[in-house]
Symmetry: none
Subunit: 429 residues, 2 copies
């Protein structure tokens, strides 16, 4: 079932409001197995709207409009569609009584133009609007089904959930459903990922696979169409397995997961606490971690040392290291991590020191150069990064990389511990 | 100038993301005197996209696309428009060098499909993309001007502001020019502000006046349309004077000013350094301050104490205060500020302690309760706030309030000092 959604209203074309009606409708209809192929926005202009209706009727099976059912002169959707279909309108008493009751209950005196809202094209199915004056309407015209919905998001959702979707289920029982599953990756670029997955991407049909880049992470979305949720899940699981065989190492979570959440869960699971020693990120890493409800369970704190003096006096980085190696160096990063772990008293600590720019870069130490170190019971480790982007992007990418490093370390360390246990065990013999 | 905006991407048709690109473009183009008459969304499907391009070219003077310029197979906008216009593509070395530099700086190895992004239709004007790999493109075809913009909102805005809008001003001078000037206010609610400015708002014509509430601040946007920049500036200056007569006390900055920047300038001007002691904001306040280039001149650091243990051991809050008054109290806030100032050694320090929620609230200490204290040479002061919103909104509002408090304190303290000097002077007699 090809669907086009037409959202009307000058306020949309002026950019005064976001088109949340379309986003919501698209989600709901895709889930129900409809193919939403086009969305058009047009103003309350008879000529342009008629033209848009004509194009939509020509390329979609179902044309859904939102808006233009109100009492004012500017509301012309119903009138135009009736005219387009060559239908007269009649005063629908049921609708009129509903409008009358609703307005009376709200102590709003009925205006003449409210009668306009009770006019229904002959042969149209009325979708009762329990929360507003404008009913939804379904109209058959040749191969095209026109659906008219009220513009206020609250009314549109109500009419869809109470009336339209049940009607669709009755009328299109054969429609399958669509399910989506998102893999979240870090530590790899979009282009490299696309190349690694090229075979799968070329041969995709159902499920489809799509890549999206976000600051510091990449999303892989698998979307399956099937006759049942179980079947869709099975299709997705199969492709997910193929994908993770190739790039599983970069996957840190799924769907709504965020890196701070995933790291938080890992810390909770291991009953470990974390501390930060931040320089160029200025507190962003700990702020991101504490965006997660309940993070006080495992985040102990952070020392933001924006001067060498503070690095030395609060985080205990030696003056020699700072003068010989500089604030942006592997050695400083490691001493910062070690220092913060001691001062704050956490199981694991992460330090970040680098050049966020735009100034301060040199040939040897360019803007974007960042050292991230981790300290835990197993000792310290450091990674070197070169991030691109603006000052705030570099901060964000560095913070994300730091959380990712901590996550890796937690997983490694458990392996190390396992090995050590085996080793000890051998030693016992 | 009739404009149609075509936004591409399956994620839009699946209803997974809101079409913020269209809303922003529509606002900016309407401001500049363009008539945005149509907006269409279509998926990454060659047949449907070609059809949509053809319809748009038939009814609009300017067709603007967003999305589909990336390196993956799904990105087909540029290829289709070139084909539609019957143009070959060539490898643009300038673009290629930019992509190469950008990816090298980020240590991302260049993938074969990155070359695709450097292909430019012959005769196209390249809109340099300083913050991403995909350049924007302008293409003349008969009476139609095609404009291709990258999909990531951050890149789209950057390319428009830096390249496209200046190009439009040159090319369509008759549209007149639009100038906007924004006043930034804090410490007052939107509805109160609207009431105070009621007369001006009712009688607005040119310039227009619009109020926007952002987390923790309010924007007043004055927009004038005129035939010259000078004329527009004069119109704006006149209305700004009226507005500031009424609400000037709440204005902290203009246009691109941010509270961290304004506070930073104030600190620089007074040769003062600042430190933070953060609990519920988790490092957000210092992170916001360090988003400003050159902030290392006045930000010394921050101690994020997310546990009482750290509040006591690192920030020197007395155990008695913590046990008797609790972590969220005026007393703790004041000791945190005093402690951070001592430990980090700054001229002024700001502490933030509160309940960001969603859990942990009680009747006496509800979620949103935040104490913010300041410590400087003149002693300490504390303010109590009750913020609404989600966990992250409360964090943001608390951080903004803290920076605002620091700004007030700096201005007060200079007065105090002045008074003290006079006082001392009298004492000398």
């Amino acid at each position: 079932m090809k669907v086009e959604i037409i959202t009307t209203g000058t306020e949309l074309l002026l950019g005064e409001i976001l088109n949340t009606n379309f986003t919501w409708l698209a989600q709901e209809l895709n889930l129900r197995g409809f193919d939403v192929l086009y969305q058009t926005t047009v103003g309350d202009n008879p000529v342009r709207m008629k033209e848009v209706l004509d194009i939509a009727a020509g390329r979609a099976d179902i044309v859904i409009t939102s808006g233009g059912l109100g009492p004012t002169r500017g509301d012309i959707t119903k009138e135009l569609i009736a005219e387009y279909c060559g239908l007269d309108m009649y005063m629908n008493l049921e609708v009129w009584n509903h409008i009358y009751d609703l307005l009376s209950r709200r102590n709003i005196c009925i205006a003449a133009n409210n009668e306009k809202q009770a006019l229904v094209p002959s042969g149209a199915i009325v979708l009762h609007n329990g929360v507003g004056t404008a009913p939804g309407l379904v109209l058959e015209h040749g191969d095209t089904t026109f659906v008219m919905l009220p513009g206020p998001p609250f009314e549109l959702k109500h009419v869809c959930e109470q009336e339209l979707f049940p009607y669709f289920e009755q009328r299109f029982p054969h429609l399958g459903i669509i399910k989506s599953h998102t893999l979240k990756l870090r530590g790899i670029g979009e282009s490299n990922l696309a190349e690694m997955l090229d075979d799968i991407i070329i041969n995709q049909s159902n499920p489809t696979i799509a890549l999206y880049a976000r600051h510091g992470e990449i999303l892989i979305r698998l979307t399956a169409k099937a006759s049942s949720a179980e079947e869709a899940d099975a299709l997705i699981a199969e492709m997910q397995e193929q994908v993770e065989k190739i790039v599983g190492a970069y996957v840190y979570g799924y769907d709504e997961d965020t890196l701070p959440e995933v790291l938080g869960k890992e810390l909770l699971f291991r009953k470990q606490t974390i501390a930060f020693a931040e320089s160029c990120t200025g507190g962003l890493a700990s702020s991101m971690m504490t965006d997660v409800p309940g993070s006080s369970e495992y985040v102990k704190g952070s020392i933001v040392s924006y001067t060498n003096e503070v690095k030395n006096q609060v985080t205990n980085v030696s003056k020699t290291t700072l003068s010989k190696k500089g604030a942006v160096s592997e050695e400083t990063a490691i001493e910062m991590a070690r220092g913060a772990r001691g001062v704050i008293g956490s199981d694991i600590s992460i330090s970040i020191t680098g050049l966020a720019g735009p100034g301060g870069g040199t040939r040897k130490k360019p803007v974007g150069l960042v050292y991230i170190a981790v300290a835990d019971a197993n000792g310290e480790a450091c990674r070197k990064y070169n991030f691109g982007g603006t000052r705030t992007q570099i901060k964000h990418r560095a913070a994300m990389a730091a959380l990712g490093f901590a996550l890796d370390r937690l997983k490694e360390s458990s392996q190390t511990n396992a090995e050590e246990m085996i080793h000890d065990h051998d030693a016992d013999r």
